[in-house]
């Protein structure tokens, strides 16, 4: 897996990297069984900056696109119930395609680079966000909708003022799962030249230096946790009625 051509095209895992590894400037690097090389980490921490920013960019852009599409699909399906089953099937199929295969399937269309990665990553989020949005809308109590209609809310007002606010917990839960999985899957973007933290893990197809892998993984995990927590806080802020305790 991983052709030299792709590796070169990614631009992130230049020849420098391998050169540095083979140089003798740092002692523990030379020992292949050393699990973590602190000296190397100290010297090279800077090299993770750009991949981290790229990774963030991949995640945020794909999830935003995925959310926009899935949310719109959910609203359509909410109105026209016959769309619900086919949409669930289509997004479900997209979700089951193995990531690497998906990347390479897209190559002829979107070419090498981060566009391909974004398209694939966005497609993965559709299923989770779509399904959770539908679930949230489905869970809105009928009595609230009936009361709203009887009081003179138009269909649009019922949707935006009653149903969607009440669906926020499920929608945000979907976003949380989507974003965490996207942070993880985005490490594979390196294979089609999409950059990101994968460059520090696979180095273009083969696992690179363990210390580098550990650091990249730590950043991935921290990023996922930060998104997760951030959305959790956002949800608490957006749904004050759920935190109100019986008095």
């Amino acid at each position: 897996m991983g052709s030299p051509l792709l590796l070169a095209a990614s631009g992130q895992v230049g020849g420098d990297f391998f050169k540095e590894r083979t140089s003798d400037t740092l002692p523990c690097q030379a020992k292949p069984n050393e699990p973590f090389c602190f000296d190397w980490a100290k010297e090279n921490i800077d090299r993770f900056g750009t991949p981290t920013v790229q990774h963030l960019e991949l995640v945020v852009i794909s999830v935003l696109i995925g959310f926009a599409i899935a949310f719109a699909l959910a609203l359509f399906a909410h109105r026209s119930t016959w769309l619900q089953a086919p949409l669930l099937a289509v997004t479900g199929i997209l979700y089951t395609i193995p990531s690497i295969a998906f990347f390479f399937l897209l190559l002829p269309v979107t070419g090498i680079g981060k566009d391909t990665a974004i398209v694939a990553l966005a497609a993965y989020t559709l299923q989770i966000i779509y399904r959770n949005t539908m679930l949230g809308l489905h869970n809105v109590p009928d009595s609230a909708k009936e009361a709203a209609r009887g009081m003179g809310y138009t269909d649009r007002q019922i949707l935006w003022r009653v149903e969607l606010p009440l669906a926020i917990p499920e929608i945000v839960a979907g976003l949380r799962v989507a974003i965490v999985s996207t942070v993880a899957i985005a490490t594979l973007a390196v294979f089609i030249g999409g950059g990101g933290l994968g460059t520090q893990i696979y180095g273009g197809g083969n696992l690179t230096f363990p210390t580098s892998v550990f650091i990249a993984l730590a950043i991935v995990v921290l990023m996922a946790m930060a998104f997760h927590l951030g959305l959790l806080l956002a949800q608490r802020y957006l749904t004050p009625w759920r935190n109100a305790r019986a008095i």
């Binding site: 009936e146 009361a147 009887g150 009081m151 003179g152 009653v162 009440l166 749904t239 009625w241 109100a244």
Partner: protein
């Protein structure tokens, strides 16, 4: 409150047919509800009462005929606009879980584009009207009890001062004790606001209690009788109505009476610190109706019943032996008063006026005598008056 604003509601051969069904759900319903009255639509399930009610705000579209609110056909209105002028209360309440109580009450005013200050003032006014603590305004519905939520449901329906109120089994999901309280509160409220109310229930007792007029409906949306509660109980139009009203018609008429409508007994009264001898002398009088002295305070408010043991001391003690038990009010419905007595397994209960001062004593005996009297079986209209104020 503002001037009471209400409109009459007139069904003119209003018909609802679902699909190609040969039997209509509501068949040529013609009915007039005068402005400011409560009209109860009652009947077994499937009789079309809810459908008939929902045609008014067009949450169900009628197939033929018309309904006029005041002089205006509901058909001429945009449904959403029409509904904003009609209060709507449903059994499941349907408060918005994500909005505070104040925001829930302000829902329709918000749709009508009222200014924020005005909505807030109106919400506060209504919280006061339904007897809820203004502090509850900032709570969410889940933080309120079922009874409180249903009061908020009523307040929300009243927020924009609607011409007509539709109430679909509004107290059906409330426990019996709270239901009775909510019914009474609503009647008191109605005396003040005088809305035209269409009230749907399957419970004939509730219909008799709440309705100025009752339309008894049967399958196919036909009205079998449209009459005042007293007429319905005394002269059922046909067998269906008679069956539906039930065999215990005399008992049901208690629902049409207030405690003040019957001659109450007088209890010997005692004050704290009074010489026990005086009280014993009152008890010994030949015309005494209640064989126990009632301890009252300086304002003649009842404190408790005195027992033999209490009177053993020289002076009347401040803490009577027996608890007071249920205290009734002059405006209580007789049927509820009887239920209170039976529930507390007591023969007597003091009756107080608005200020809480003793007005007499009601006993199970008084009620059973009334039921046995020719008056209870007479064809004359009994005193049916709504409490005022």
């Amino acid at each position: 409150m503002n001037e009471p604003a209400a409109s009459s509601v007139r069904y003119q051969e209003a018909t609802k047919r679902y699909g190609n069904s040969s039997t209509p759900a509501v068949d040529k319903l013609t009915l007039e509800v005068p402005a400011g009255e409560i009209c109860v639509l009652v009947g077994p399930s499937g009789c079309g009462k809810t459908t008939a009610m929902r045609m008014v705000n067009r949450t169900v579209e009628m197939t033929e005929g018309d309904i006029l609110i005041g002089e205006h056909s509901v058909r001429d209105r945009e449904p959403a606009q029409l509904r904003r002028e009609i209060g709507y209360v449903i059994q499941q309440i349907g408060l918005f879980p994500h909005r505070t109580i104040t925001e829930n009450i302000g829902a329709v005013p918000q749709l009508l584009g009222w200014k924020k200050d005005r909505i807030r003032d109106r919400s506060a006014e209504l919280l006061d009207l339904i007897g809820l603590d203004p502090e509850l305004g900032d709570r969410y519905p889940a933080q309120l009890s079922g009874g409180q939520q249903q009061r908020v449901g009523v307040a929300r329906a009243l927020a924009a001062d609607p011409l007509v109120m539709l109430m679909d089994e509004p107290f059906g999901a409330i426990d019996p004790i709270n239901r009775e309280r909510l019914q009474n509160e609503f009647l008191r409220l109605q005396a003040e606001i005088q809305k035209t109310v269409l009230f749907v229930t399957h419970d004939i007792d509730e219909a008799i209690k709440m309705g100025d007029r009752i339309a008894v409906m049967r399958e196919g949306g036909r009205v079998e009788q449209y009459a005042t509660p007293a007429e319905l109980l005394m002269a059922p139009a046909n067998e269906f109505v008679e069956d539906f009203v039930g065999a215990d018609r005399a008992l049901k008429r208690l629902a049409l009476m207030r405690v003040r409508d019957i001659n109450l007994w007088e209890a010997p009264l005692a004050h704290v610190g009074q010489a026990s001898g005086e009280v014993r002398a009152k008890l010994a009088a030949s015309d005494v109706e209640v064989p126990f002295p009632l301890l009252v305070d300086g304002e003649r408010r009842p404190l408790g019943w005195l027992s033999e043991r209490d009177l053993a001391a020289d002076v009347v003690p401040g803490r009577p032996d027996s608890p007071l038990g249920p205290v009734l009010e002059l405006d209580d419905v007789m049927r509820d008063a009887l239920a209170d007595l039976l529930q507390h397994e007591t023969q007597y209960a003091p009756v107080v006026d608005h200020a809480g001062r003793i007005a007499g004593v009601l006993s199970v005996e008084i009620i059973s005598e009334f039921l046995a009297s020719p008056e209870a079986k007479s064809e004359e209209t009994p005193a049916v008056e709504r409490p005022h104020g």
